[in-house]
Amino acid sequence: MNTKGAAYIAGIYEHPVRRADGLSTAQMHADVALGALEDAGLSLDDVDGYFCGADAPGLGALTMAEYIGLRNLRHVDTTESGGSAYLLHVAHAVEAIAAGHCNVALITMADRPLAAGAGTRLAGVDRDTMPNLPFQAAVPPHPMYGYAMVARRHMHEFGTTAEQLAWVRVAASHHAQHNPNAVHREVVSVRDVLDSPLVADPLHRLDCCVVTDGGGAVVVTRPEIAKRLARPKVKVIGTGAAVKHPDAGRIELLTSAGARSGAVAFAEAGISPADIGYASLYDSFTITVIVQLEDLGFCAKGRGGWFVADGNLIAGHGRLPFNTDGGGLCNNHPGNKGGMTKILEAVRQCRGEAHPAVQVARREFVLAHGTGGNLAGTHAAGTLILQAE
C-alpha cells in the first residue's frame, strides 16, 4: 500500500528537561503528550490512536492511556526497535490512518536513565532471556564497542579517518550553540575531538552522544484534520523500515538497515536524496552518521568520511545541514534513544521554525532517519521523508 501523503504531522513537542530528578517517567509522557496536542491545537479527546515504546511504564500503551487520559482509543501500537521505534511509529500511524483505523495518532517517548542511575541501558531489554548472550558472555555489554568496530572496519576498507569522524561532532556543535536546551553548547574543533580521551578505540569521548533524560511527542493526523489546524502543514510522503542482524554468523559491518529503509522511503516519495534540503540523522556516535549518509544515498558507499569533512553538514555552510538542534551528540539523546528528537527537528525545519541561525532555505523536502539497536549487531532502521505544503 502506497501511503504517500496519507497523513500529516500536526503537532510536536520536545521536553526541555535533560536530567529529570524531580519527574516521573509517566509524568514526562503526559508532559510531552499535552505539549504536542497543544502545538497541534487538538485535545486529549481527539486522540483515537496511541503509540509508544518500551520506555512507557507499566503495561505500556494501556498504562499510559489511563494515566494521560486517552478515552477514545481505537488503535494502539507498541512497536519497539530501540532508538528508531518512533520513526516506525510515525510510519505505522500513517498506515493506520490510511486504513481508517484512526484519525489522530499520538506518539510519546520519555525516559530518565540519568536520574535513575541506569547509564546507557535501554528500557525493556531483558538480558536473562536473550538467546545470543551466553555465547558472548565475555563481551562487555556497552553498545559503544559495536559502533567502534564498525568505525574500525570502515577505516580499514575505505581509509576513513578519525578527523573525518570528528567533523560530524564539529558540525553538531556548531548547531548546538543556538539551542538553549542543549547539553553541550560549546563549539568544538576537530582537534578538540581528537584530543578527547579514547573511550572505545577508534572512538573518542566526543564521538559519542550524550546520555540524557527527556522525551518528546508527535501528533499525526489525517489530511482533512491537518488542513483545518493553524500550524504549517508537514506531509509525510515516504516511510521505510528495515531490520538487519548478525545473521547467525554472517556479520557484515559496512552497510546498515538504512540502505533498505531509505530506498523504500525514497521510492514512495518519488524524490531522490539530492532533493533533500535537511536531514535528521541518527547520531548515537559519529560513525553512525557516516554509514547512514552512504546508505541513504547522499554519497557513495565508503565516501561518507569525505562527505562530512570540511563542515559539509553545517547549516549555512555545507551541502547537507544535519541535526540543527545539536542532535544526540550535543543536544539530547533521551533514554539512549534518539529517534524521537530526529523527527522533531525535521518537522521544525520543514515548518521553517528551526532557530534562524540554522534554518535551511531548501525546506520543501526533509528527511528523518533512525537506527535503533546496535549498528554492529541487531538493529532496525526507520526513514521518514516529509514535505512542506
Binding site: 563481551v139 568496530m149 572496519r153 554468523g249 556479520i251 549487531g377
Partner: protein, 557 residues
Amino acid sequence: MKQDRGFPPAPVVFPGDEPFWEAARSGELKARHCSACDTLHYYPRMHCPFCGSREMSWRKLSGRGTIYSCSIVERSPRPMAPVIIELEEGLRVHSVILDADVRALNIGDPVTLRFVPTHDGLPVPAFTTTRAEAARAYTQAARAEVEAQALRSQRVFRRAVVIGAGNMGAGIAMALLAGGLSVHLIDQAQASLAAAIGRIGESLGRDVERQRLAPAERDARLACLTSGQEMAEIANADVVIEAVWEDLALKQQLFAQIDRYAPPGALLATNTSTLDINLIAAATQRPESVVGLHFFNPANVMRLIEVIRTSSTSIEALDAARSLAASIGKFAIVVGVCDGFVGNRMMIARERQAARLLLEGALPDQIDRVQRNLGLPMGTFELQDMAGGIELTFRARQKAGKKDWLIEQLHARGRTGQRAGRGYYRYEPGKRRPLVDPEVTALIEEASRVEGIERRAISDEEVHDRLVLLMINEGAKLLAEGIVGRASDIDLVWQLGYGWPDWKGGPMYYADMLGLQSIVTKLTALRAHHGDLFRPAELLVQLAEASERISNVRTLR
C-alpha cells in the same frame, strides 16, 4: 590468589545448548550444522535459521580465525578487546580478545580460541592472538628449563633460620613456613621478634578468614615457628637466611658468626638487593656455601627469587638454592654479582631515565601511561608512590651526598607516596587511583628551570624508546657480562618480579619483536642526542648484524 575482577558473568544454559557447553569444558568450540542446506550457523539454534530444517548436528570448529574488526576496553582490569572474529569455517562471531597485546591489534591478525572462566566456572568462548600464544610458549619453555634445573639437587630442607625480624625477614619466614619448613627467627631486639611473630600470625589469620588457608594448616605453620636472640640456634639449620638492614659491615660481621655456628653443608644465604656478596662470602671460611637470595617484596607472595652466585659459590650450593626455592613454590633465577643484579639494575636504569624525561618536558602520567600501554601493571611513578620510592631515593641521595632538587622538594612537602596521600600524584583518601596534581606539575617545571633545561613536548614514542630500549640495552650488557646465563631468564625475572605480561614474553623477547636492527639504529640516534648512556651494547650490534634473535642467547650452561 583468587581474583574476580574482569571475569564475565556465568552464561545461562538454555535447553538444547548443553552439548555446546560440554565441549566448552574441554576447550572446544562447537557450532550447529544443517544437513538439509549444508550450512553452519552460530550461535547454536535447534532449527536452521537459513532453511528452517530441524535436521541439525554439532560440528567442532577449528578455533582459529582472524580479526574482522576490533576495539579496546579502556581501563579494563585485564587487557580486553571486543572483536568480531572471522573463523576459518567462515562464521563471523562477536567475542573478545584477552591476554594479548590489545593495543597492537590489526584487522586480519590471526587469533586462536581461549576459553575464559566465569564466576561459576563454566567457561565461555574468547580468543587470544597467535602472537601472544607464541610468547607464552616461549615463556613455558623458559620456565621448563628453570624447573628442570631445580630438580638436579636432592637436598631436602627441614629447618631454616632467618636472621633479622624486619619486614623482609618476616615475609621470608612466612614463605618458608608455607613450604613446610620449620623456621627459627633470630633478632637482637626482642620487640622486633614479637612484632614479626605478631605480623605472621595476623597474615595467616587473614588467609584463614578469606578461606585461602585451613585453620589446622595455620596452626601447623605457627607451631613450626620459633624465635630467639641466640645465634647458637643456627647449629641445627639446613639453611640460614640473613635479612638484616642493607649494611655491608653489619652483614660481614653476621656472616662471621653464622660461619662459627652453622653445621657443615648448610646453605648460607644473604637477602640483599644491592650489596657485593663476594665481600660478604669472604667473611666466612666457606665462601663456596654462600649465596645471595634476593626475595621480592612481599616475600610470601612474590614468586621470584634471584639466586646470586659469587665468584666462589659451588655448583652444589647453587643447586641447593634452586632446590630450596622450588620446595617453597618459588622460581629461582641464578644471576651473578652486580649492582642491582638483573631486575633492579634494569629498573634503576629505566627510573633514572624517567626522572631525566621529567626534567626535559614529560610528566609522570605520560610516562606511566606509556608503560601501562606496553602491558606493565603500573608505570615508574605510580610504582614509586606505592613503594615509597621518593623516601628511598631521598635517603640514598643524602647518603651519597648527591643533590636532586625535585626529590628534595617532594620530600620536604611530605609527598612521600600513596601512603601519605601524595607523591608524584595525589590520592583520594582510601583510594589508589593516581590523580594528576598541579602542584607536582609546577614543581617539575620549576625543577627544569633550576637545572637549566628548556622543557619541550616529548612524544610517547620517545618516552617508550628512552625507557624500554635502555632496558633492553642493559639486558644485553647483563648477558655479555655473564651476570645472567640466558636471555629468557631476564624475561622470567621481569614477568615474575615486575609483572611484565606473559603475552609479551619479556624485555628481551620484546626486543626481538621490535627487531634488533631497528633498536640499534634508534639507540645510535638517541646516543647522538643524549650521550653514551644509549651506546648500543656490543652484543646487540653483533646479533643485529647477524640477524639473530637475542631471546635465544645463552652464555652459560
